[in-house]
């Protein structure tokens, strides 16, 4: 509890000292570390306190296993983002330090709230602060308002859900929504919208590239964690309806994952690609949670537990890797001032080693390369989807198998897109001039995050043990006892990232020594174009890389080959484009009929309103 108070005090101090960015962000780091400590305390003991204010109105703090898990993950990322911002924030206004501390404070309250009032207030603050943070970069008003519009819709859905509970039993606490069907549906949809489920994801690729990189990382990780947290809570609270919600979660999740990966495969913008990847990862989390709910409904306790654990591990993988990716990309982007993957090249060689290595490791993690944490997460998800044969219900079997196909496709496409992002931006040669600035804390934040991705993958058995799922740890053949992760009881599938690391690490080191000893002469040259340096359009670019998928899937992408370029389109935008056209047409018709500048129309209109008002109020 001391940690909770300390965190709040540090965040408040950070807000007060926002005239000095270094001090402010440092307080932010301290506050985030206190919040992580609070999470660890809460995971062990749990904490609940309730203040009855007036009649039925009561406020409360509830730190149980779910919320402490989310606090730990979100605030590890927050601490590193704040540390990164000590140097990065100097490129932006002082208000960003204030906003970031305020955001961390409000998000802590969102995760700890046990009642609707404090949850909604804190949630509103999160939305507003993020809106202003997006506006930190000039000329981003449009994107800010798009973000605000989608946030408001999800907020309205939550509001309706909570209002239903308050109307039905007059209580303001989350637990009062137990087995309330309207609450379950509205809150579920609201939170899924917060997780960028398809088709409400279209704001993501528009807003992320425009927002400053640390804010983009916040949008991608802690903000979507709120959605995931809400879905966890709602599913726990609605036992009777977990069948419907589970199916809904699996369908939305798998489609989101597939769609996100598909769009990432064609993307060439430096920050839009990770934005689509965020949609994909959130889809995976949603699928795992839905599967867990369905397994629980069908009394498959082991599978339910395993897929719940899968969701937790995917959350860890997504949070750490996506934070690293956005921070490293921001580092490169600010130094070069360029947006496209083709323009940002040679991060590893020219910009900074930590940024290059961080981008490489996070990309490898998303491409599920063992023994990184992304590999563990994706293996666990596929493994739990493979167990669909255990369900007796044919419909469930069919849905889960179909979801498995979509998820597997998404994983393949995601490694395709990550190869594009890392291969093109990390390697290669620089074409533009660098704008150097002080980046000490940025480098260290990137180093720590890379280290965390590797260690959390290699030592994933320790994480599983800490989370309290020891039944999924075992030993087999030469692998010692707790280092083997098993996917079911009796044993269905096994993996040991720890042993993989040791064995392959050994082989890799010996291979490196052998290669070093051979000392081959390797000459690298540029392509021969008459001996001249290459022009921009003569280099093999990302468009060329992804054209194969664009052409093969031209039905989905609506690929158009123009004379010098290729155009594609995200067809989920079609709904919104249709709405925009419809309302424009409608407003044109209305303005033609009523507000067309003829005086007698106005007079008829006023008299009609006057008569109607008279009749209505008379009656």
């Amino acid at each position: 509890m001391l940690a909770f108070v300390l965190a709040i005090i540090f965040f408040l101090l950070g807000m007060v000292f926002s005239f000095n960015r270094t001090i402010s962000y440092s307080f932010g780091v301290l506050g985030a570390i206190s919040a992580v400590v609070l999470g660890f305390e809460g995971y062990k003991d749990g904490f609940y306190h309730q203040w009855d204010i007036y009649n039925n109105v009561s406020l409360g703090i509830n730190i149980d296993k779910v919320s402490s898990f989310f606090i730990i993950i979100a605030y590890i990322c927050f601490a590193l983002m704040a540390f990164y911002s000590i140097d990065f924030g100097k490129l932006f206004k002082k208000s960003m330090a204030f906003l970031m501390n305020f955001l961390m404070l409000s998000m802590l309250i969102v995760f700890c709230a046990a009642d609707f009032i404090s949850f909604l207030i804190a949630f509103k603050f999160v939305t507003i602060i993020l809106f202003f943070s997006i506006l930190e970069r000039p000329n981003t008003q449009k994107e800010g308002y798009i973000f605000l519009a989608f946030s408001e819709v999800s907020y309205a859905l939550l509001f309706v859900g909570f209002a239903v509970v308050i109307a039905s039993n007059g209580l303001f606490l989350f637990k009062a929504g137990y087995n309330n069907v309207l609450f379950a549906v509205f809150a579920f949809l609201g939170f899924v919208m917060k997780m960028d489920g398809v088709p409400t994801h279209i704001w993501v690729p528009l807003v992320y590239p425009k927002a400053p990189s640390n804010i983009a990382a916040i949008l991608s990780v802690p903000l979507t964690l709120i959605g995931a947290y809400g879905v966890f809570r709602v599913l726990v609270l609605s036992d009777n309806y977990s069948y419907v919600l589970g199916i809904l979660a699996i369908i939305i999740g798998s489609i989101s994952a597939f769609w996100g990966a598909l769009q990432a495969a064609r993307e060439t913008h430096l920050k839009t690609l990770p934005a689509y990847s965020t949609i994909e990862n959130n889809g995976m989390i949603l699928t795992a949670v839905g599967l867990s709910a369905l397994a629980k409904y069908s009394h498959l306790t082991v599978l339910s537990k395993f897929s719940y654990l899968t969701a937790l591990i995917i959350i860890i993988a997504h949070s750490l890797s996506k934070t690293t990716m956005f921070l490293t990309i921001g580092h490169a982007k600010e130094m070069l001032g360029r947006d496209s993957i083709d323009d940002v090249r040679g991060i590893l060689k020219h910009i900074s080693k930590p940024a290059g290595i961080g981008l490489l490791i996070s990309g490898l993690s998303f491409s599920a390369v063992p023994p990184l944490v992304g590999f563990v997460a994706e293996w666990m998800l596929l493994e739990s989807l493979f167990q669909s044969y255990k369900f007796s219900d044919f419909l469930l079997k069919f849905i889960i198998t179909f979801a498995g196909i979509l998820i597997a496709l998404a994983m393949g496409l995601s490694s395709f897109s990550m190869k594009k992002l890392v291969g093109f931006s990390d390697l290669g040669e620089l074409n533009f001039e660098l704008k150097r600035f002080k980046d000490f804390t940025m480098k260290w934040a990137e180093n720590i995050l890379s280290f965390l991705i590797i260690t959390s993958g290699v030592l994933s058995f320790l994480i599983i043990k800490y989370l309290g799922y020891e039944e999924f740890l075992d030993g087999l053949l030469g692998v010692p006892k707790p280092t083997l992760i098993v996917s079911s009881r009796p044993i269905f599938g096994v993996i040991s990232p720890f042993m993989f690391f040791i064995v392959v690490g050994f082989f890799l080191i010996s291979l490196l020594i052998i290669l070093k000893a051979q000392n081959k002469n390797v000459k690298t040259t540029i392509p021969w174009v008459g001996g001249l340096p290459l022009k921009e359009n003569e280099v093999y670019n990302t468009r060329g890389y992804s054209f194969i998928v664009e052409y093969v899937l031209r039905g989905i992408y609506r690929t158009k080959e123009l004379r010098t370029s290729v155009e594609t389109y995200d067809i989920s935008n079609a709904i919104y484009d249709f709405l925009v056209r419809f309302f424009k047409r409608l407003s044109a018709i209305v303005s033609n009929i009523i507000m067309n500048g003829y005086l007698h129309y106005y007079i008829i209109y006023i008299i009609a309103i006057f008569v109607i008002a008279l009749i209505v109020f008379k009656l």
């Binding site: 000459k523 040259t525 540029i526 021969w528 008459g530 001996g531 001249l532």
Partner: protein, 150 residues
């Protein structure tokens, strides 16, 4: 007459391959010479002479001499005239791109000198004077015969 698959298999497995291992290492370019030409500032006279090598009169392909489009496929780099200042980086890049082992043949202009003196690596020949196509042809055949081991 044997049944054909058995005939083929027996032929395949009973055939003895003989390798004669030469006492000296072989000249890797004994059979052919692939040439990349770079015009680094030559006069028209030299160009006319040089490109008449490609005419049917000389028919240099029968000697195994081929012109290629990129230094990456070439054994011999022919530089026509000493490189001018603007052509210097291009010549250097061409030399950089040649696969090893390679040779360089420099053919200088007779009439005017505007090139820079550079140290050419693996220089196998240097021609100057009032050249005719035949002399260049002779030199190329000579290089192809003796090989490029330098």
């Amino acid at each position: 007459m044997l049944f054909w698959p058995i005939y083929g298999l027996s032929k395949r497995y009973s055939k003895r391959y003989k390798f004669d291992i030469p006492s000296k290492p072989r000249n890797p370019f004994r059979r052919s010479l692939h040439v990349f030409v770079i015009d680094a500032g030559s006069d028209v006279e030299l160009l006319l002479e040089f490109y008449s090598l490609m005419s049917p009169k000389y028919n240099i392909h029968r000697y195994g001499i081929f012109f290629v489009n990129t230094p990456r496929h070439a054994d011999l780099l022919i530089i026509l005239s000493k490189p001018t200042e603007k052509m210097l980086p291009i010549v250097k890049e061409a030399i950089n791109q040649m696969p090893e082992p390679f040779g360089v043949l420099l053919i200088e202009n007779e009439t005017f000198e505007n090139g820079v003196d550079i140290d050419l690596p693996n220089l196998v020949g240097r021609l100057k004077g009032n050249l005719e196509a035949e002399e260049i042809f002779k030199k190329l055949v000579e290089i192809a015969k003796r090989g490029l081991i330098c």
